[in-house]
């Protein structure tokens, strides 16, 4: 574990300083989740396993101080564990290869020597640690399934040409995936996140739900009874906050 933490956490300059804890910490998490997502795509993972990996990562660092463990190692273990949880099994060798390439772009794949096995062992050990820290509660309700059903419902109510012209579903899906850069998934209900993401997507393209003014119940209320407008606004602003980090961090 020592080897990998020295090796991979090269971005020590981004480590939280003495003052201003939250912002730098959020930045580290943003970077590490970015790594999870990029590695997930390169490992051929689907959206839900990637989401689970991010959720595991965020949940772990809700419990544990960032200084205690190397976040990238936790991220690798999260990927490995998420593959198991979501039945899309990954091989540690692939995870190590992709990660190594991520940390050292253009480098040759590691040789399968004792160092490789040390890294592999540390991933497996860290996986056990994560499991214990999370008290083996590693399955999550993700907004993905809800969002897709909402999209289908909305699609039928909207004019089909306006639906076709406007990339609402792809935007909503992208927003949802990107939302895992932060800990939104832990703070809000899955349905609420799904609605908020959909709401933002509609807003972006200026699409109005037909006859919304005349309706007894706004469309977002239909999808989730306990949802209120402020919750949506909160989620949306959090989401936008995440994107501001994207521009701040190169």
């Amino acid at each position: 574990m020592e080897a990998i933490s020295q090796d991979s956490c090269g971005g020590g300059d981004e480590a939280p300083g003495a003052e201003g804890w939250p912002a730098p910490e959020a930045r580290v998490h943003f970077r590490v989740t970015r790594f999870i997502m990029e590695a997930g795509v390169k490992l051929g993972m689907q959206s839900i396993p990637i989401a689970t990996a991010c959720a595991i990562y965020h949940k772990f660092f809700c419990e544990i101080n960032l200084n205690a463990y190397d976040p990238y190692l936790v991220a690798m273990s999260s990927l490995y564990l998420a593959g198991k949880v979501e039945e899309q099994h990954l091989r540690t060798r692939d995870i190590i290869n992709v990660s190594n390439r991520y940390f050292h772009p253009g480098s040759e794949p590691l040789e399968l020597d004792s160092r490789f096995w040390v890294i592999r062992d540390s991933i497996v050990q860290c996986e056990l640690l994560v499991l214990r820290v999370l008290r083996f509660q590693v399955s999550f309700q993700h907004p993905h399934k809800y969002l897709l059903h909402y999209l289908i419902s909305l699609k039928n109510w909207l004019n089909r040409y306006s639906w076709q012209r406007t990339p609402i579903s792809i935007t909503a899906w992208a927003l949802l995936r990107d939302s895992y850069h932060g800990g939104l998934c832990l703070r809000f209900r899955a349905q609420h996140i799904a609605v908020a993401v959909l709401h933002l997507a509609l807003q972006v393209y200026g699409v109005e739900v037909p006859a919304e003014a005349e309706a007894e119940k706004p469309w977002w209320q239909v999808f989730s009874d306990d949802l209120t407008k402020p919750i949506i606004d909160n989620i949306v602003s959090d989401l936008i906050q995440i994107y501001t980090m994207d521009t701040e961090i190169p």
Partner: protein, 773 residues
């Protein structure tokens, strides 16, 4: 940039977004040109009436506008589109792969007026509608729509929307009468929208599938049952009866929501590509990811280098002479990377040095398949092919050797060794062919001399034979057909050797006829005949030596155990083998060996049987000795035959054949035990039938083999057969015995006797058959 989309967004957010966009995207050349023109329409239309819902979120709207302006290059990119097909889908998800929900407006409780308006705005020609017939007129029927079958899923059941289906759009179900008579008020009808008058809110529908778009033309229009109504409608009806249910509870209780593949299914339905997941993060644009950074590419690269490492270790072992370790390393390398060319070549080289040339060739060929330009693989393969060709040459498989040389030359035309070897082989083949011809010529001359003397002998023997047969005929009252057959045989056999071919034809016909007659007899032979046979012949063994009796019983016991069951099977097997024997070189050889053996024990039989005093054994002794003579006389025959028939395998060396003879000698003894013979002597009628049947079966097989191989030993046997079928039967049994267990060796002496009994029985049998026929 998608101008329309940008305009739509600008119209919604107003001029504040425009100014934000201008400041954020000023570096983007697409936007700079676009925003100039986009500003015009933004200014042009009167400011939108802000909806009451929107007023509240004015504050965060600015945040959203900032977000839009920052991400505008991604959000309004032309590539930022879902690739969902623009066709309307059928709303018949009866299998429920996802949670099919009642229409959204039903939950939103939108007034009917708006719903109706929106329905007429969104309905399209070619959509499928489902409704009930409300009235039937002479010009068509009216139906009230209850739901939609394709395109959009809307709740229209309470909107009282009527549609007319004119008479010309109703297909007639019979040649006579009114097509409308088929329909009744209240029928549920599925129809295609043919015409829409949006202003007057009038619809015309058709029952012809030509009204539907091509991809929906398979859908049956007309009367449907209530079970065929779309799932969304049924759920909507359920919701109407219990309006307290929320969207969420219906969704959660739906089976489709729990479907583990629901995400994948809906992503496909909505046209989102999971292989290239969308993201609005600049660093996560999957199109910027290099293909080399993906796990599969990295793994492949890593495996290749790992395998190569193993090969290197293996080569080091190989150089030191630790061949087993080297092989292990190569195999490990190939386990890691199945297609590793270096490992294949290295392993092939190891195989070649170890002498497993075929395996080496396999490896080299596989390596060349994967990497056709690999120089070493090609070189090694050529060398190995030539070496293997040399091996084959030594094994007398010249044709195979030739093909290997040719293969090597195909790979490398300049490969000198292969060319030399091929030429040498051709020369050698030519020479041996000439040699063979000469030898055959010589032998033919010798043979013609002998044949005349033997013909004399044969004639005598046949006369004797006839006499015996006549005697027997008296006791069993045989038919004339056998005698005539005998006569024809004797006459033909006494003719000169030049009539060989004629013989053969003749014989073939005969064997066929006898076979068929035997088959008949197998079923038809009466007890009477069997009884007779027993009475007449079974005293014979009793008169011979006691030792034989004992042995016979032993044989019987053994055979009863081992051979009775597999007996039938083996016949079939033998039959199957027939086509094989024609191509195989070994079969003719072992026949040769066997006939030598049989002659040996005929001799031994002669000495033994000579001491017995009964008349019949003597007769058989005579018969056998005559047979031996004839076979001797014909032993030269085949070489002649070889030449005349142009036997293709004549390239084979005489030496090689001798080797085969030697090889076969140790096993010769087992031929002498014949299960069929012993079976027969055990007096069982059924077994007897079997035996004769097997004999006849073997005839055909024998015939076939003879024609195909034209072997000299075979030919000798044929000749015997012409003389006497009885002998033939016994010999066939010997052929059978070859297949049988090797444990029953060393019983050849009594076996001779058994064979004789067998012959007698077969002969009797035939006589019986002839009678019947």
């Amino acid at each position: 940039m998608d101008r329309d989309l940008l305009r739509q967004s600008l119209n919604y957010h107003g001029p504040s977004l425009l100014s934000l966009l201008r400041s954020e995207q000023q570096d983007n050349p697409h936007f700079r040109s676009l925003l100039g023109s986009a500003a015009e329409p933004a200014r042009g239309p009167p400011p939108q009436q802000p909806a009451p819902g929107r007023k509240e979120k004015r504050i965060d709207n600015i945040e959203i506008q900032k977000f839009i302006s920052k991400k505008a290059d991604l959000l309004f990119a032309l590539s930022w589109k879902s690739d969902v097909p623009a066709t309307s889908e059928v709303n018949e998800d009866n299998e429920d792969p996802y949670a099919v929900m009642p229409p959204l407006e039903q939950f939103m409780e939108i007034p009917s007026m708006d719903r109706r308006e929106l329905f007429f705005r969104d309905i399209e020609r070619g959509d499928i509608v489902i409704g009930r017939i409300s009235s039937i007129r002479e010009f068509g029927f009216f139906m009230v729509l209850i739901c939609l079958g394709s395109g959009i899923m809307r709740d229209i059941s309470h909107l009282e929307i009527t549609a007319l289906c004119p008479l010309r759009d109703v297909p007639s179900h019979s040649n006579h009468g009114d097509p409308l008579s088929y329909y009744q008020t209240g029928d549920i009808i599925r129809a295609g929208i043919k015409d829409i008058d949006r202003y007057h809110e009038k619809l015309a529908v058709s029952l012809y599938s030509s009204s539907l778009p091509p991809h929906l033309s398979g859908i049956k229009l007309g009367v449907i049952s209530s079970e065929e109504l779309p799932l969304y409608y049924r759920r909507s009806v359920e919701l109407n009866s219990n309006s307290l249910e929320s969207y969420e509870s219906i969704m959660q209780s739906s089976l489709g929501f729990a479907n583990p593949g629901v995400v994948e299914f809906l992503l496909g339905k909505l046209g989102i590509d999971e292989a290239n997941p969308p993201s609005l993060m600049r660093g996560l644009q999957s199109k910027n990811f290099s293909e080399d950074d993906f796990a599969s590419a990295l793994r492949k690269k890593q495996s290749a280098s790992w395998a190569l490492k193993c090969v290197k270790v293996g080569v080091d072992y190989f150089k030191v002479g630790r061949h087993v370790d080297a092989m292990n390393e190569y195999n490990k390398a190939l386990e890691i990377d199945k297609q590793n060319v270096e490992a294949l070549v290295a392993r092939g080289a190891l195989y070649a040095t170890k002498g497993s040339l075929n395996k080496a060739i396999e490896d080299f060929e596989l390596a060349l398949e994967n990497c056709p330009t690999h120089r070493n693989a090609r070189k090694y393969l050529c060398q190995t092919l030539v070496e293997r060709g040399g091996q084959l040459e030594e094994e007398e498989k010249f044709l195979n050797a030739e093909s290997y040389y040719k293969k090597a030359l195909d790979l490398d035309e300049t490969f000198k060794d292969a060319e030399d070897a091929l030429q040498k082989l051709h020369k050698y083949m030519q020479k041996s062919l000439e040699l063979r011809e000469k030898q055959a010529e010589k032998e033919e001359k010798q043979k013609t001399k002998k044949i005349e003397t033997s013909a004399e002998k044969l004639r005598k023997l046949l006369k004797e034979e006839k006499r015996l047969k006549k005697k027997r005929r008296k006791s069993t009252s045989s038919s004339s057909s056998v005698s005539s057959g005998d006569e024809s045989v004797s006459s033909s056999s006494s003719s000169s050797s030049s009539g060989h071919k004629r013989h053969k034809k003749h014989k073939r016909n005969r064997s066929e006829s006898s076979r068929s007659s035997k088959r008949h007899s197998a079923k038809a032979s009466s007890n009477q005949i069997d009884q007779d046979r027993k009475d007449e012949y079974f005293p014979v063994p009793a008169n011979t030596s006691a030792s034989f009796l004992n042995q016979r019983q032993e044989v019987e016991k053994l055979l009863e155990k081992q051979d009775r069951v597999p007996y039938q099977k083996k016949q079939v097997k033998e039959k199957d083998r027939c086509p094989l024997s024609s191509s195989s070189l070994e079969i003719p050889d072992d026949f040769g060996g066997r006939s030598e053996d049989s002659r040996d024990f005929y001799n031994s039989y002669k000495t033994q049987a000579g001491s017995s005093k009964t008349e019949k054994p003597y007769k058989y002794e005579r018969h056998f000795s005559s047979r031996r003579d004839s076979s001797d006389s014909f032993s030269r025959n085949p070489e002649d035959k070889l030449k005349s028939c142009g036997y293709r395998k004549c390239e084979k060396d005489a030496e090689g054949r001798k080797e085969h003879y030697r090889k076969w000698e140790p096993g010769s003894m087992r031929y002498s035990t014949s299960p069929a013979g012993s079976d027969h002597s055990s007096k069982s009628v059924e077994k007897h039938k079997k035996c004769s049947y097997s004999g006849s079966r073997d005839f055909s097989r024998h015939e076939q083999r003879c024609q195909l191989s034209k072997n000299h030993r075979e030919y000798e046997r044929e000749y015997n057969y012409e003389e006497d079928i009885k002998t033939e039967v016994s010999e066939r049994d010997e052929v059978n015995s070859k297949e049988h267990s090797e444990s029953v060796v060393k019983k050849n002496l009594p076996q001779n006797l058994l064979n004789i009994f067998n012959q007698i029985a077969a002969f009797e049998k035939e006589k019986g058959n002839k009678q019947k026929n």
